[in-house]
């Protein structure tokens, strides 16, 4: 499956180059999402958890559209990471239906489907733990390589329904984290099946407010790991169901999601057969044109589940408060304080962030 998909990805790359000059009605755009994050922790006793960090980030976003085709590429660069996060080529099956192929963010996560890597667009500096990227103590696959159908239809005169479904290569589990399939180095890894679906209802077709359901099934291949104690590969079959709500008003905003995650290992001496639930509610209030405050509460049920113990720095409980100042067009400063619990420790965090978009 991996080899076939690799070939498809390469074909998509070639197709992109080929279609580019053909159509007259075409447009492209290049955006830079910049941010600088400072993180300070206090009360940390576990030596593997960093006391602080400073991270400058550039997220390059390129898009190309013509009558039928669409290309989206997102490259993420920090002082300790550089990765092709998304590279997807879309074909418009109809004005409301787009079929994507490439490296994608699967639609399971409502937060990621909305903000992706754009720090400036996020309503807070940090993201809820259950919406974390794989390499930031994420416990649910986000990046897959495969296909995604993205569709919308009108409901009544001005409401809308969005449905998104994906199928592709799931991340593997190695060295204590999920490792997504690397499009730039397809021969270096493999992976099993990942499928995901999301359905959202929009009371205003073009508005931001929506609520809906999502579900996913992934077969995560765990590689031999001395820490885990497995000498051979085994599979973790993960099933996820969730609900989400996003309400955007003139003054208030609310973003919330809850996930039920069931994990079962196959072919392993160390049996994992359990579940956990994780959810969050984040509320924000605007204070005039440029200022806003926000707060988030995160909770996890059955945080002692064997699967979560594989990612011991997963924050299973958090209370957070923040403030944001949009001091110029496309530039913002934000500050957050939070209290966090992980399985081995608990600590406070202070985060500061400058974020911007160019041009």
């Amino acid at each position: 499956m991996t080899t076939t998909l690799s070939r498809l990805m390469r074909s998509a790359l070639v197709a992109t180059i080929w279609v580019y000059p053909v159509h007259a009605e075409e447009a492209s755009e290049f955006l830079l999402f910049l941010s600088a994050d400072d993180l300070e922790r206090s009360g940390v006793s576990e030596p593997t958890i960093r006391q602080g960090d400073f991270t400058p980030t550039i997220d390059f976003l390129y898009t190309y559209n013509n009558e039928r085709w669409r290309v989206l590429a997102e490259y993420y660069l920090t002082d300790d990471e550089n990765e092709l996060e998304r590279f997807q080529v879309g074909y418009s099956l109809s004005p409301q239906h787009l079929l994507w192929i490439g490296r994608l963010h699967q639609p399971l996560s409502t937060w990621i489907s909305q903000y992706h890597h754009g720090a400036y667009l996020q309503p807070s500096i940090s993201r809820p733990s259950i919406e974390n990227w794989e390499d930031e103590n994420g416990v649910v696959p986000v990046h897959i390589a495969g296909l995604m159908l993205d569709g919308r239809r009108s409901v009544g005169s001005d409401r809308g329904l969005r449905y998104t479904a994906s199928v592709g290569i799931a991340p593997q589990f190695a060295e204590g984290e999920l490792l997504p399939f690397d499009l730039l180095d397809p021969d270096d890894g493999s992976g099993r099946l990942a499928t995901s679906i999301s359905i959202s209802y929009f009371p205003d077709y073009v508005g931001e407010s929506n609520f809906g359901l999502m579900a996913a099934y992934s077969e995560i291949e765990a590689l031999p790991d001395p820490v885990l104690g497995n000498a051979t590969k085994f599979d973790i079959r993960q099933q996820v169901v969730g609900v989400h709500v996003n309400l955007e008003g003139d003054l208030w905003g609310l973003l919330s999601a809850a996930y039920y995650v069931d994990n079962q290992s196959h072919g392993s001496a160390n049996v994992i057969d359990d579940w956990f639930m994780s959810g969050y509610i984040q509320a924000g209030r605007r204070l005039g044109a440029d200022w806003g405050t926000y707060a988030r509460l995160e909770r996890t049920r059955n945080a002692t589940s064997d699967f979560l113990q594989l990612v011991p720095r997963y924050v299973y409980q958090r209370e957070m408060l923040g403030v944001r100042w949009d001091f110029a067009m496309r530039q913002a400063l934000a500050m957050e304080v939070s209290h966090n619990r992980v399985s081995m420790d608990e600590f406070a965090e202070l985060r500061l962030q400058w974020s911007a978009v160019i041009p």
Partner: protein
């Protein structure tokens, strides 16, 4: 004599009542030969947020933003899109980030806008009505705002 006439004209103009605000309309325009004959408010918002909307010939409608006049831009945002400039900007960025939609072209030069419309049967733009008066290259698709 010449001075008397000039003074009389000056006094007349000064004593005349202040001009009443003339009719001022913001209109949505398209190429005179465009298959775009009408556009509902929701479809208009869709187009200006980068969603796909097709015209009578099945082609995608292309939106052109007119930023040549601050008052015109403000009316468009408030009365048509129903959002502030910052909210509109964030929403466009967000939709580009989410699904790779390229944002509508934006021009601060009216001549450029009219040239684009004159050369593209599937494009729309919003302008003051008087800017296209007596120009046969364009048609009014919808009156967006009138004072």
């Amino acid at each position: 004599m010449k001075y008397r006439v000039a003074i009389a004209m000056l006094l007349t103009s000064l004593s005349a009542p202040a001009p009443v605000c003339a009719d001022h309309s913001l209109v949505l325009i398209a190429n005179a030969e465009s298959p775009i004959d009408s556009l509902l408010p929701l479809e208009l918002r869709k187009v200006y947020l980068g969603f796909n909307v097709v015209d009578g010939s099945g082609q995608l409608i292309r939106a052109i933003s007119n930023t040549s006049n601050a008052r015109l831009w403000e009316i468009f945002l408030q009365d048509v899109m129903g959002m502030s400039a910052r909210s509109y900007d964030r929403r466009l960025l967000s939709l580009t980030m989410q699904s790779g939609r390229v944002r509508p072209d934006s021009f601060d030069d009216l001549d450029q806008i009219l040239t684009r419309i004159a050369n593209d049967r599937h494009a729309i733009a919003f302008v003051w009505e008087e800017d296209i008066k007596d120009k046969s290259d364009f048609k009014i698709v919808r009156v967006l705002w009138r004072r």
